[in-house]
């Protein structure tokens, strides 16, 4: 009889750290072919629509950057959380909260001809709104020991309902034919576009800057070491004199702030208003981005671009092949499964052994 056993590795080969997410992507592509076959579609055509078409022209590339911007911003923050064993899964709510906090300024200054200060103030408000909202689960965790996974997730529903109320109630556009949405933001409350004929805006360079800063934080600073150590070995972190509770606050605030920033960038840049469907699930997809990026900011950047492609591919497939949008989520879920499975290779050697006969 043969069976599979895990043998602990003494040391993880460097190349494997890079190869494991690539293997996960490859496995996802293989699975995608099987899914397409099962749905009776031509797998080559579907793969083309999903993964190649989005990057085959300039407009498509701009869209990829537009979608990757919130994903990477959120994922970088989540990576810091997960590195330190703080399971913030409520980024979707923090994203919406940021959009609402920033959007409030846009709505309340609308038509007043306010100056250029509005946009920077909106970005600050967005980051603050997200950060404060993220501090709720952090506080409940450090003060009462309440599980942050559950509390942060519950707050997503609360944020969604709050946004729903605002755009149907106090902030609804009076000239909007009763649609649940705010006014279209005025130019001074809109993120400038980077080029004509697309939606690429200033958010993308901001995202790139954040990714670089986060990479430096993790690799080069004592704070980054603290984040890693608290996650890897909490007792050793206490021995190092690091305060795990304070760190919980810090990483939740950073993650919430970045998610909030992503939210206000999305509202003021890409959508230019508040509406219930503001996020197509960025906050949840960013969890996958963070893991696929190996909880490393630069990795998140690469992974964010990849998942942005699947988002656009999914929309293309819906239009061109009448495939349900949920197929994208199936792929994303599968991808996370494979990423986690492949990560086992880093810690363990998987080996077949023959059992001695009785």
């Amino acid at each position: 009889m043969r069976r599979l056993v895990l043998e602990r590795r003494a040391e993880t080969p460097w190349a494997l750290t890079l190869a494991s997410p690539l293997l996960a992507v490859a496995l996802t592509l293989v699975s995608a072919v099987l899914v397409f076959l099962a749905m009776g579609r031509d797998p080559l055509e579907a793969l083309f629509v999903y993964f190649v078409m989005p990057v085959s022209d300039l407009w498509g590339l701009q869209e990829v950057a537009v979608k990757a911007t919130p994903l990477v911003l959120i994922a970088v923050g989540l990576a810091l959380c997960y590195r330190s064993n703080n399971w913030n899964i409520g980024a979707e709510g923090q994203f919406l909260m940021g959009a609402m906090a920033g959007g409030w300024l846009a709505v309340s200054t609308h038509g007043l001809g306010a100056g250029a200060w509005v946009l920077p103030a909106m970005l600050v408000m967005g980051a603050l709104g997200g950060a404060l909202f993220a501090l709720i689960p952090a506080l409940l965790k450090t003060r009462f020991g309440a599980n942050e996974i559950l509390t942060s997730l519950m707050l997503v529903y609360v944020a969604e309902l709050l946004l729903d109320w605002l755009v149907r109630g106090p902030w609804r556009d009076p000239q909007g034919f009763n649609m649940p949405q705010t006014v279209v933001f005025a130019p001074e409350a809109t993120i400038p576009l980077l080029m004509e004929g697309g939606r690429l805006n200033l958010g993308t360079p901001i995202m790139l800057l954040v990714a670089v800063l986060a990479a430096l934080l993790v690799a080069r600073t004592l704070k980054g070491f603290e984040i890693t150590l608290v996650g890897e070995a909490p007792r050793a972190a206490r021995f190092a004199g690091f305060d795990a509770k304070r760190l919980t606050w810090t990483v939740f605030a950073i993650a919430g702030g970045l998610a909030g920033l992503a939210g206000v960038l999305e509202a003021a840049g890409t959508v230019r208003m508040l509406q219930p469907g503001l996020s197509p699930g960025y906050g949840f997809t960013a969890i996958i981005v963070a893991f696929l990026g190996r909880l490393n900011p630069v990795g998140c950047l690469v992974a964010g671009v990849f998942l942005a492609i699947t988002f656009i591919g999914g929309e293309n497939a819906q239009i061109m092949m009448q495939m349900p949008l949920d197929v994208t989520r199936v792929f994303q879920g599968l991808l996370l499964f494979y990423v986690l499975g492949c990560d086992t290779l880093l810690l363990y050697r998987v080996r077949w052994v023959r059992e001695q006969a009785a």
């Binding site: 599979l4 056993v5 895990l6 043998e7 602990r8 997960y82 399971w87 899964i89 409940l140 009462f144 020991g145 309440a146 599980n147 996974i149 559950l150 509390t151 997730l153 519950m154 707050l155 529903y157 609360v158 309902l161 709050l162 729903d164 109320w165 109630g169 949840f284 969890i287 996958i288 893991f291 349900p324 949008l325 949920d326 197929v327 994208t328 989520r329 199936v330 792929f331 994303q332 879920g333 599968l334 996370l336 499964f337 986690l340 499975g341 990560d343 086992t344 810690l347 363990y348 998987v350 052994v353």
Partner: protein
């Protein structure tokens, strides 16, 4: 039937899926595994359940298919966390995301299809008892199943040797292994049971409660079930109390909405989630810290 009886009846129906899913997860956690993917298993149960019921025309077949779907999802989770020793939190999240997506694909052809829900079974004589009769003994089979699950799991965990072994695996897997108990096998079976319960709870939503399919119809109930397990301090009877508390909160806000309480409907709709947070805080405060199984969430890899 009085209004109070009617409210009580709806509370019971709203609580039942929470209770069934929570009992399943309770057994899983008692064995030392944290499966956060209840939401994903539950909604797969809902989608597959109604798909099978509509396709075959048999509610019973729908329920069976839902249970199997939940177990299949659980097996996927087990393969990752038990077979490959991956992080249980991350794998649970993956299961939730995957289930939400896959259920949308499975359920797409059935959007908007109405069908007759599974009816109540009136227990002869007992259902004629005034007040108690219609509330307790004229319910659909799921309600009885939920009660049976609470009693059965309680008996299993605290009165049988297999239950003792399961609790031992959740307390200290190294010791259990040293005594020759098959930790991974026990956990695998527990995870499958949790999946079956979550699938059953999902079937209840799509075959009895609504009864039709909409994408994302579990609306966080899987996560609330997880909170109920914490609230219950991993005790089956307390899980029943917790489930009814949350079911009550849901129904009260529905009644408040229809009675025209001058609050935004969105605020009322947020009540169950806010109550969940409040309860999590209060229970930690009163109990002063975790009393969960000591090995909860820790991967186990035996030496070879």
């Amino acid at each position: 039937m009085t209004l109070f009886e009617a409210i009580l009846l709806t509370v019971i129906t709203a609580s039942t899926p929470l209770l069934i899913a929570a009992i399943g997860e309770l057994v899983v956690e008692r064995s030392g595994v944290l499966n956060l993917g209840v939401e994903g298993m539950m909604i797969m149960g809902a989608a597959v359940g109604i798909a099978a019921a509509i396709t075959t025309g048999s509610s019973a077949f729908g329920v069976l298919a839902a249970v199997l779907a939940g177990m299949a999802m659980a097996a996927l989770f087990a393969a990752l966390t038990l077979g490959l020793a991956t992080n249980q939190v991350a794998a649970g999240l993956a299961l939730a995301i995957f289930g939400l997506g896959l259920s949308g694909v499975v359920g797409a052809p059935f959007v908007g299809v109405q069908r007759e829900g599974i009816g109540a079974i009136e227990i002869p004589y007992l259902s004629d008892i005034p007040f108690l009769g219609p509330v307790l003994f004229a319910q659909d089979p799921f309600v009885y199943a939920a009660f049976a699950l609470v009693a059965g799991v309680s008996w299993f965990l605290f009165r049988t040797r297999a239950g003792l072994v399961l609790r031992a695996c959740g307390e200290n897997h190294a010791s259990a292994h040293a005594l020759g108990h098959h930790v991974l096998r026990v956990r695998f079976l527990a995870v499958l049971f949790g999946g079956a319960c979550a699938g059953l709870a999902g079937a209840y939503l799509s075959l009895v409660y609504t009864p039709f399919w909409t994408s994302g119809m579990t609306a966080g109930r899987g996560w609330i079930a997880l909170a109920i397990v914490v609230f219950a301090s991993w005790l089956p009877w307390r899980a029943a109390v917790g489930a009814y508390l949350f079911g009550g909160a849901t129904i009260l806000q529905l009644h408040a909405q229809s009675a025209g309480v001058p609050l935004p409907t969105q605020l009322l709709a947020a009540m169950p989630y806010l109550v969940t947070i409040l309860v999590l805080v209060l229970v930690m405060r009163l109990r002063g810290g975790g009393a969960g199984p000591a090995a909860l969430g820790q991967p186990f890899v035996p030496d070879r």
